[in-house]
């Protein structure tokens, strides 16, 4: 693995698993996050991609941006297809078919493919305990089809299907907490990350793929096109999202919450909201509502992180032979 022999990037390998020449928008945070995530991995990975921005911009017949084996079928089934590949490899290895060692399956999807239409498939795959990783690249709307709202769109955001008008202030519901849903399945590893903190992102993706069993990583990917902001501010926005507490960075390792970054004081959410055109219309009332809710959610998260679950010691009559849950 060739590494840049220089200051900070001596930690990052040079080889790209994702080639330039793709058709992402100028300044695409999702393309950046994907590039970083796959820089953290070796080339023993099979990628299952749900329909969405990152699938479309990387795969126009007859070209592909991927140096890894890659499959795209439909919108909502990335997790199900990944289950099939994982099971296929398991069965074939057992039957002695010569296959590369230590092949990992990574399913990637956008926020729509994850928290809306693909929720069932993900829930099923996590419950069955397949050895795969699901990475959600969350740009907070159905961006590829033209910026329509999804359940991951934040409260008050203007999208084409939750537009601002006389009778509406934008998205009417709070952002669906997908990492919590994944954690509720009691999987060994859940993490949130964003491309404004690339080393944290790469470490988490590495950890997720190396963890045996299902893992879930939720990556906030700034979309300058859909969020209506300048193309060069994507990293600034993603850092502000973390520093205002809107998108906290944390890990859930075997049901134990762990914050990735200690913020002694959260920045006001206004700092984050005002640089994005999709929040331009918000009144001070709504901003205050958002501020309060963000603080509440952050507090809940901190409590979980500080709370170490004590495991009850059970006295078994028949001995300690346990069936391992897959």
């Amino acid at each position: 693995m060739e590494k840049y022999a220089v200051y900070v990037p001596r930690l990052v390998k040079k080889k790209e698993n994702f080639a330039p020449g793709h058709r992402a928008c100028i300044g695409c945070g999702e393309a950046l996050a994907m590039r970083q995530a796959f820089k953290a991995l070796d080339n023993n990975v099979i990628v299952v991609n749900a329909t969405g921005c990152m699938e479309i911009f990387a795969s126009q017949l007859p070209l592909t941006s991927w140096y890894l084996p890659w499959i795209h079928t439909l919108f909502e089934n990335a997790a199900a297809v990944a289950s099939g590949i994982e099971a296929g490899y398991k069965a074939m290895k057992r039957k002695g078919v010569p296959l590369p060692e230590n092949t990992k399956v990574v399913a990637i999807g956008g926020d729509g493919a994850t928290s809306d239409i693909g929720l069932q498939a993900i829930s099923g795959a996590l419950e069955r305990g397949h050895d795969f990783t699901y990475i959600c690249f969350d740009n907070e709307a159905y961006m590829n089809t033209g910026i329509q709202r999804s359940s991951a769109t934040p409260f008050g955001a203007a999208t084409t299907t939750s537009p601002v008008g006389k009778k509406s202030f934008g998205q009417f519901s709070w952002k669906k907490n997908m990492p919590e849903i994944a954690a509720a399945h009691n999987i060994p590893y859940v993490a949130t990350a964003t491309h404004g903190y690339p080393f944290d992102l790469m470490e988490k993706v590495r950890k997720a793929v190396d963890t045996p069993g299902p893992a879930y990583v939720h990556i906030l990917s700034v979309c300058p096109t859909g969020w209506r902001s300048a193309t060069d501010t994507v990293n600034r926005q993603s850092r502000l999202a973390v520093q205002t507490g809107i998108f906290p960075l944390y890990e859930v390792v075997n049901s134990q919450y762990k914050m990735s970054i200690t913020l002694p004081k959260l920045r006001p959410v206004k700092d984050y909201l005002k640089i994005q055109g999709r929040f331009r219309h918000l009144s001070d009332d709504i901003i205050q509502q958002i501020q309060e809710r963000v603080e509440l959610e952050y507090q809940k998260l901190l409590e979980k992180a500080n709370n170490v679950t004590k495991r009850a010691k059970s006295k078994s009559k028949t001995g300690t032979a346990k069936a391992s849950a897959r």
Binding site: I46, A80, V81, G84
Partner: protein, 391 residues
């Protein structure tokens, strides 16, 4: 030595799948296919079948998991019926152009509404245009034989297409029939290991499922069409080899005293066997009748059909599904289309019956043939006739 046993057809299908030694079975239960997936789970649990059994959370995920598994190069099987087939519809459409060999047993059952768990062909017709190879079985033996052939056909490098084996729900899945099972060693000789040419493998990366702009889409679809048409040759070859290995012959259009018969009844599915009894009885009474049974639904056997019916004067086609507001019986409308440009063609009368599990008796078939012959003579103001409805 092959063993002949009396066994429920669903169990027999699971046993046939076991003989084929799949790598992955992804299945979701739905009446009337439940016994197939239950028995497969039992075989895996007992170690008799070395496969990964994925108990998926919906049929859509079942077929999606099959896509992944076939793309990885594993031998894959699933089973479903009506609502499940409808739910996985978009995934079924994806499997064929992506050339992923998946074998699926479909226990034909009526599509809702109203909810019906009993047999008809509305689900079979709903996947007509998906590009899968589709074989229809009429009895348990045919199910077992065609499941084994399906693996060989689908995974053949000249074909590489998913294959559906249709069988009637309840009328076949839940009845006990005498079935001869080939030996495992014989099946191993007949069925080579799966060898998908471009699987997902980190040593040789490929990208599957790119999107196609208009400039290239037509070429991909024509390639799909040319491929399924070319697969007919392989299907015939595999059936031929099966006959040599196991003694049972299959052809796309099975003839039952239809050569030279003036009036021919055409059926698809297990009703065909009841109809055969009726035809035999009518022949004993001196009537000039015969029967053809369609075995290969897709690719449609145009040549064999035209050849089998070249001297027929009246063809009565029984459908077990309706295309609402359209030509009625989908099978009949396809047969009519097959004969439209021919210089000599039979008068084709379309009957729809047996919907939602309603039985057609031997007497019923005799009645149908009589009515059909009459309508062929007088004509009818209806596009098709509905059989057995209470007015």
């Amino acid at each position: 030595m092959a063993t002949r046993v009396g066994v429920e057809v669903s169990i027999a299908i699971a046993d046939a799948v076991k003989l084929a030694n799949p790598d992955v079975v992804a299945a979701y239960p739905i009446t009337p296919q439940t016994h197939i997936v239950e028995h497969l789970a039992e075989l895996v649990a007992n170690g008799e079948l070395d496969a990964e059994y994925i108990p998926v959370e919906s049929e859509h995920s079942a077929m999606s998991a099959c896509l992944g598994s076939a793309a990885a190069g594993a031998r894959t099987f699933t089973a479903t019926a009506s609502q499940g087939l409808a739910l996985m519809n978009e995934v079924v459409y994806v499997a064929a152009p992506m050339r992923l060999p998946i074998i699926m047993a479909v226990a034909n059952r009526a599509l809702s509404a109203p909810l019906s768990i009993w047999c008809d062909h509305s689900d079979l017709m709903s996947v007509r245009d998906t590009g899968w190879i589709q074989i229809v079985a009429e009895n348990g033996q045919q199910c077992v034989d065609n499941i084994i052939c399906a693996f060989r056909i689908g995974e053949d490098r000249r074909v590489l297409l998913p294959v559906m084996v249709h069988l009637d729900g309840f009328t076949l899945t839940h009845v006990i029939e005498p079935i001869t099972f080939p030996e495992q060693s014989e099946v191993d000789k007949f069925l080579p290991p799966n060898n998908f040419p471009l699987p997902l493998n980190p040593d040789k990366p490929v990208a599957m499922g790119d999107f196609a702009p208009p400039i290239i889409f037509t070429e991909t679809k024509w390639a799909q069409e040319m491929n399924i048409c070319a697969s007919k040759k392989v299907i015939m070859e595999v059936w031929d080899k099966y006959e040599k290995a196991f003694g049972r012959k299959y052809s796309p259009v099975e003839k039952h005293h239809s050569d030279g018969a003036k009036v021919v009844l055409m059926t698809m599915g297990s009703v065909g066997e009841t109809a055969s009894v009726a035809i035999d009885e009518m022949r004993d009474e001196g009537q000039d009748v015969g029967q053809v049974r369609l075995r290969l639904w897709r690719p449609f056997p145009f040549e064999e059909l035209r050849e089998a019916l070249k001297d027929t004067e009246v063809l009565i086609v029984l459908d077990r599904a309706i295309s609402y507001g359209g030509p009625g019986g989908p099978l009949a409308s396809e047969v009519k289309a097959a004969f439209y440009d021919q210089a000599k063609k039979p008068r084709i009368v379309s009957f729809v019956g047996g919907l939602g599990g309603r039985d057609i008796t031997v007497a019923g078939f005799k009645d149908m043939v009589k009515k059909g012959t009459e309508i062929a003579r007088t004509g009818s103001k209806n596009e098709y006739e509905i059989y057995g409805v209470r007015e």
